[in-house]
Symmetry: C2
Subunit: 363 residues, 2 copies
């Protein structure tokens, strides 16, 4: 059965996408004696510099994809918006891990919420908004408030409009380019948390400790582990992530973002979204665990057993966004800090340039 | 002053030598957003695959060296037998870290022992053996026993002859190709230990916890940390390594191998040899410390402050020599083990193919 293929040291993993996630995956693979081949259209891809080889081509260039996949024992990706034709084309030639189902579900907010609901995990109340005429009725049901989000291609707050008062609804869909959308009820959550879950080709599944996340301008600013939540909440969050991975027959690492509601609610954990890839809120694993999320993903994609998700340090991960990276020298002087830079030539506002993990012994 | 040059993220460090040490240095540099350029004559260099760029040329190819150094903000090396002309040529064009003095001293056992003695650290009794006629007299002084070693180019037991009884001396120098040699008195040591010491461009110096080393067939088999030695011995070993680094005005990471004599001796620690580079007996730092010896060396070479040498786990490093590497799958299944493979295509007896760090909480 093709899905049971396992790689050997010296084999090559193909990675779609050449950003920092692809770069850190390539570095982890190199530590295990595996080769990587990055496929990305961007000539300035930070992952090109550390991979064994790379192809610079468009994701719909089937000739380039064929040439690429011929050298790969397995293929993975660093972003969920892999075109479905690309995914299907590659999956026909080599094990694609995670598989096409994980991509389909995570690419479309409506399918994602339907899937999560069917899987038995809770999400915020939501409704399909195919067009302007559908918005008013749903808004009325949701108390006049909600977040309108495009079904596809949203990230870091892009493709969203907040509706908080009567006037906000008019023109909201226009501002999203009249793309198919969903309305989510506004959730008065207490905290944002996330789980990094990993699953291997035989269905063995494990999750790292949950992280408490803070966003600024819709971009992740910090992840703190341990999260300041009761143990039973943490255990439930991890169990939910495992349930989702099992339902997708998932192979690899997945990020699951959740909202924690205030005490007193029946369902205190609502899943916000899933990302079928290594996740920014899992970067802390690089320095607080023996096996990072990057090595974990590479192991699963290679068909190898998972490493341990056990954590041996407390940690706060802070993203270095835009000019934050200019503080690199100060970070290097902090003995409890580990600096990670992505090798991006150009600093731009809002651009993720690196991150720092600040550790301390487990309290 | 040229020796105070500091690099910025995005700059390039040149590395002479493309083996596993160069490879792990390149991976550490990439994590810090630095580029690397490997210089090595061997087309099968494992470091080529992970470096930003490489030059395949002989170490005495001055044209290639000039082209190489032009792109480098600083230059370092993974082996101590860099030809002195090569070192001098590069040092004239870019900061060479560690410097030429460290190379001169570590390339010649006689100079090394003279230097160590002058620095005030103890070594085993030794004598210069320029030729056959000098051997008998010294042997008589050393109780008829000793290890005859070539002054230059010895490693992993190569270039050595053991003299234990009367007949062994005859032809001993012949077997070393009549190269200039030193005789070392046989030391009835209790343990072999080593210290990985790091020093930055401003003279700040720190050492990792000492490792206890076991060799098989003259090749390092395991390093165990903590070493089973009294605290005051460990402290003295680290202080000796710092003293040596200071005396060399050293920049970078250095390995210092020592013999521990049985209790009751005045000087229980004798320095065996120094290696002006990252060292096999420091590979444990990759998983038991926040800042590995590889990152530490890269920081120093870049003119950056040192990271912390603090250890947060107990660890045993085991080298995977030759066919040992065939056990990779079993190692992956051990949750306390971290596998490191070097990407070498060909397994040969005695060849270092990888290593594994097995960790546990500090007792």
């Amino acid at each position: 059965m093709a899905q049971r293929v396992t790689l050997s040291p010296g084999d090559t993993i193909g990675i779609l996408g050449g950003g920092q996630l692809g770069r850190m995956l390539a570095l982890a693979a190199a530590g295990l004696g595996l080769r990587t081949h990055i496929f990305c259209p961007d000539p300035a891809s930070p992952a090109f510099e550390v991979a064994t080889s790379y192809t610079m081509a468009a994701y719909d260039d089937l000739v380039a994809l064929d040439r690429f996949v011929r050298h790969c024992g397995a293929v993975t990706y660093e972003f969920e918006n892999v075109p479905s034709e690309t995914a299907a084309h590659l999956a026909a030639a080599a094990p694609l891990r995670p598989g096409v189902r994980a991509l389909e579900v995570s690419q479309d907010r409506l399918l994602e919420k339907n899937f999560l609901t069917e899987t038995g995990v809770s999400v915020a109340p939501y409704a399909d908004i195919p067009g302007e005429q559908d918005l008013a009725g749903v808004l009325a049901r949701f108390g006049g408030q909600g977040v309108l989000k495009t079904r596809r291609f949203g990230y870091d707050g892009k493709g969203q409009v907040m509706i908080q008062q009567a006037g906000d609804a008019a023109g909201a869909l226009d501002r999203l380019g009249n793309a198919p959308a969903v309305l989510e009820r506004l959730i008065p959550f207490e905290r944002e948390v996330s789980v990094i879950v990993a699953r291997d080709i035989n269905g063995a599944c494990d999750a790292y400790d949950i992280a408490e996340n803070h966003h600024e301008n819709h971009i992740l600013a910090t992840s703190t582990v341990p999260a300041d939540v009761p143990d039973e909440i943490a255990a439930k969050a991890r169990a939910m992530a495992v349930r989702i991975a099992d339902a997708l027959d998932y192979v690899g690492v997945m990020g699951v973002e959740m909202f924690l509601l205030p005490d007193g609610q029946d369902d205190r954990l609502l899943v916000n979204e899933i990302a079928p890839r290594v996740h920014n809120s899992g970067h802390w694993t690089q320095d607080a665990c023996l096996c990072s999320q990057f090595e974990q993903h590479i192991r699963a994609v290679a068909g190898w057993p998972l490493g341990s998700c056990r954590r041996h340090l407390d940690v706060v991960m802070t993203n270095l966004i835009g000019a934050d990276v200019d503080g690199w020298a100060g970070i290097l002087s902090d003995p409890s800090a580990r600096l990670h830079l992505y090798g991006k030539a150009e600093t731009r506002p809002g651009r993720k340039m690196g991150h720092v993990n600040r550790v301390r012994p487990i309290r």
